[in-house]
């Protein structure tokens, strides 16, 4: 079921992720270790960027991977590739931790208790390897206007809403909305052109 759900466009690395998850589902500890070794740096980097505290970040990463070990069946390959699913889970956990610290009201689409929604790889996506993907995304982010980049980072890494970002940057709400929307569209176009 896992393999048949893969689209032809999915990379060999995405296929390997799904195969490993399938083996984890069969309680294969070596597959779990392999999956952790493959993805822990990306997950930890994301979580640490959000919570800005190494100890807390490690606790969150541990929770995320333990949830994967205990509930690997929650991942449904028919609803999208594995890595975005894992990253959305990790981000949600990290932002929940931030929210608890600041007692900010929840405003995000997803919540930790819920599983990530359907995630589709766009038709334009090419089979970039991991290094080229990192390089390309960073290059595109750097190419955004500083305000666009800053607004997107406040939303993605700090979980702020349009209104909160406008207050933080002391800019009009409509302007912030445009920065975020146009910045994401530029990223999309940039990836499409790769």
């Amino acid at each position: 079921m896992f393999l048949t759900a893969l689209s032809p466009k999915q990379t060999d690395e995405a296929s390997l992720d799904i195969m490993l998850v399938q083996q984890v589902l069969q309680r294969d500890m070596r597959a779990f270790e392999q999956l952790y070794d493959r993805r822990c740096r990306l997950v930890y980097g994301l979580v640490n960027r959000i919570v800005q505290q190494a100890g807390t970040a490690e606790e969150i990463v541990q929770d995320v991977f333990l949830q994967l070990w205990r509930n690997a069946s929650q991942y449904d390959a028919s609803r999208g590739p594995f890595l975005p699913w894992l990253l959305i889970m990790a981000r949600n956990r990290a932002l929940d931790t931030l929210r608890l610290k600041s007692e900010r009201q929840r405003r995000r689409e997803d919540q930790t208790e819920e599983l990530p929604g359907i995630c589709t790889v766009p038709a334009f996506e090419t089979q970039l390897d991991e290094k080229r993907r990192v390089s390309r995304i960073r290059e595109l982010m750097t190419g955004l206007q500083p305000q666009q980049k800053r607004a997107i980072e406040l939303a993605y890494f700090e979980g702020l809403s349009h209104t909160e970002i406008a207050e933080t940057l002391k800019e009009p709400l409509g302007t912030v909305k445009s920065w975020i929307r146009n910045g994401l569209l530029r990223l999309r176009e940039g990836l499409q052109a790769t």
Binding site: M29, Y44, A57, H162, R181
Partner: protein, 273 residues
């Protein structure tokens, strides 16, 4: 602008989690209508937003995290194996019959032994009954033989005793000889005959004592049926009448078992002197 166009502008911000409450609620209400364009666009927007993770500075978790995580996973896997084994064992136990097979075998063996024992006991009881019956038959036979021996001894004693009175019972039958009677006052009366015609059918010969008293009826005594050679010996241990008070002896042919009164004319008669 269509609904899809209107809400489509919000999808990236929604995937990013940046929408304020009112816009988020409105978009979610639209998504609940299963708008195909927005559903597909949102799925791609989620993928796009997930790519932002690559913009975070690279960092590696400590080796301690890896060790801690794998230790927990190993322990949980071991517990799962134990639990699975217990579950399998429970399933296997549940599949087993409440009474073990070996106990059924023992019960069956005991049943066979019990049936055999019952049969054997009945056989033994039957054998005991047969032995008892044979013993009783032997005893009866012995008693009969002893009675016959006693009778023979008594007959011999009567015949050899000088005190016995010999009485000849004559007959008018042309093909039969006389009968001989020996009467001893103490030992009894013996009547014997040789080459006597066998009475027809099951009829028998019956001895009668004719009292001396006037008008007295004949007293019935024992019956006898001659053997194949026409011989017989009849012993009357306790004659119904004393020798001195008897006038004569007579023998008639009577139905089987004898009669209380003579039904035929005497075939042998002998006076007691």
């Amino acid at each position: 602008m269509s609904n899809a166009d209107q809400f489509g502008e919000l999808l990236e911000a929604y995937a990013l989690g940046a929408l304020d409450a009112a816009e988020r609620a409105a978009l979610e209400a639209h998504l609940a209508t299963h708008c195909p364009e927005c559903t597909a666009a949102l799925a791609e927007a989620r993928w796009l937003v997930s790519q932002l993770a690559y913009t975070a500075p690279e960092a590696a978790p400590s080796d301690m995290l890896r060790g801690r995580l794998m230790k927990i996973v190993r322990e949980e896997a071991a517990n799962e194996q134990v639990t699975q084994k217990q579950r399998n064992r429970a399933l296997a136990d549940a599949a087993k019959p409440a009474v073990p097979y070996w106990m059924w075998a023992v019960a069956a063996a005991l049943l066979v032994v019990s049936i055999y024992s019952t049969w054997d006991a009945r056989q033994l009881q039957q054998q005991i009954r047969d032995i008892n019956n044979r013993a009783i038959a032997e005893l009866n036979s012995r008693e009969k033989i002893e009675e016959e021996l006693d009778a023979v001894r008594r007959e011999a004693s009567i015949l050899s005793d000088p005190a016995s009175v010999k009485i000849a019972l004559a007959t008018s039958q042309p093909n039969a000889g006389p009968l001989q009677a020996d009467w001893n006052p103490k030992l009894g009366l013996v009547v014997s005959g040789q080459r006597i015609p066998t009475p027809p059918g099951d009829r028998v010969l019956q001895l009668w004592l004719i009292p001396k008293a006037p008008g007295a009826k004949p007293l019935p005594s024992q019956v006898v049926r001659p053997d194949a050679n026409g011989n017989f010996v009849l012993l009357v241990s306790n004659p119904p009448e004393l020798l001195a008070e008897t006038k004569a002896l007579a023998v008639t042919e009577e139905p089987a078992g004898g009669s209380p009164q003579p039904t035929t004319t005497p075939k042998w008669v002998g006076g007691v002197s």
